[in-house]
Amino acid sequence: MIPISWVLFLSLSLFTIGIFGVLARRNLLFILISLELMLNAVVIVFIAASRYHSASMANSDGQIMYLLVLTLAASEIAVGLSLVIHMYRQHHHLDIDKLNKLRD
């Protein structure tokens, strides 16, 4: 049986990589991709939780949470990508550093 700390280690590493992507990339498309990675990291924990949950009876809560997160990811990607398209139409680039009009 795989120790749960291995799975958690994997999840944390994936999550940190996603954070690095969100922080470092300036292209909106890459930020969305990084968000996907972070969501995946979270999802792994959910699945692992459902696996390692108490012994007496099987618990599917983790997998149901996975379904919710999946739906969330799909919706998020749909909205996010439409925003990407919209932004590209407006500005002809995807550099989010140049979108700072809210400051004023």
Partner: protein
């Protein structure tokens, strides 16, 4: 023996996930990044499989590697301008601009690892408890979904619907709206 093999497969899969995730984040070409992302997704689904969640693994492949990736690819096809956007991307992202990000994320990483392995002894104990050998079947999930979690289903449905409407509204081209109103006026 089986455990040993599973461990080996898990380690290999985890390595693939991390490497392909890193490649995804650092790629300059969007298409390459997406391909690495597909690899990550597939590897994650393998992890799910190892963890005994076969339904989740299937969904991971279908929804992530299938639907979401297709969305990404479509958008990329619409926006990608070959060498020009590649050069632009190289300008936007290189090592020197991401030192702060690297520093912050590695700090966070070390803290998380520290919390995971060195803080509480309880976590070690909980790993020791033997997990139930029974795999969760799709039927159980379905019963759960339409039993105690039915509200969740409704909420996800509403969320998907609102996302759909939002996506349509946002991506509706202002130019077409203008033309429409013009035609109406004529």
């Amino acid at each position: 023996m089986l455990d040993n093999m599973l461990d080996t497969i898990f380690i290999i899969t985890a390595t693939i996930i991390l490497i392909s995730a890193l490649l995804t984040i650092t790629a300059h070409n969007v298409v390459h990044a997406l391909l690495y992302l597909v690899i990550t997704m597939l590897a994650v689904s393998l992890v799910f499989f190892i963890l005994g969640a076969s339904f989740a693994a299937a969904l991971q492949i279908i929804v992530y590697a299938g639907a979401v990736m297709v969305l990404f690819i479509f958008v990329t096809m619409m926006l990608h301008q070959g060498e020009k956007s590649l050069a632009q991307e190289r300008h936007l992202f290189h090592f020197s601009t991401s030192i702060t990000a690297l520093l912050l994320s590695s700090l966070l990483f070390f803290e998380l690892i520290f919390m995971l392995f060195f803080t509480s002894a309880d976590t070690e104990k909980s790993t020791v408890t033997a997990p139930s050998s029974a795999f969760i079947t799709v039927k159980q999930i379905g019963v759960q979904l339409y039993g105690p979690y039915s509200l969740l289903v409704v909420i996800s449905a509403l969320m998907l619907l609102s996302a759909l409407i939002t996506a349509i509204h946002i991506s509706k081209s202002p130019a077409t709206i203008e033309i429409k109103t013009k035609g109406h006026n004529l």
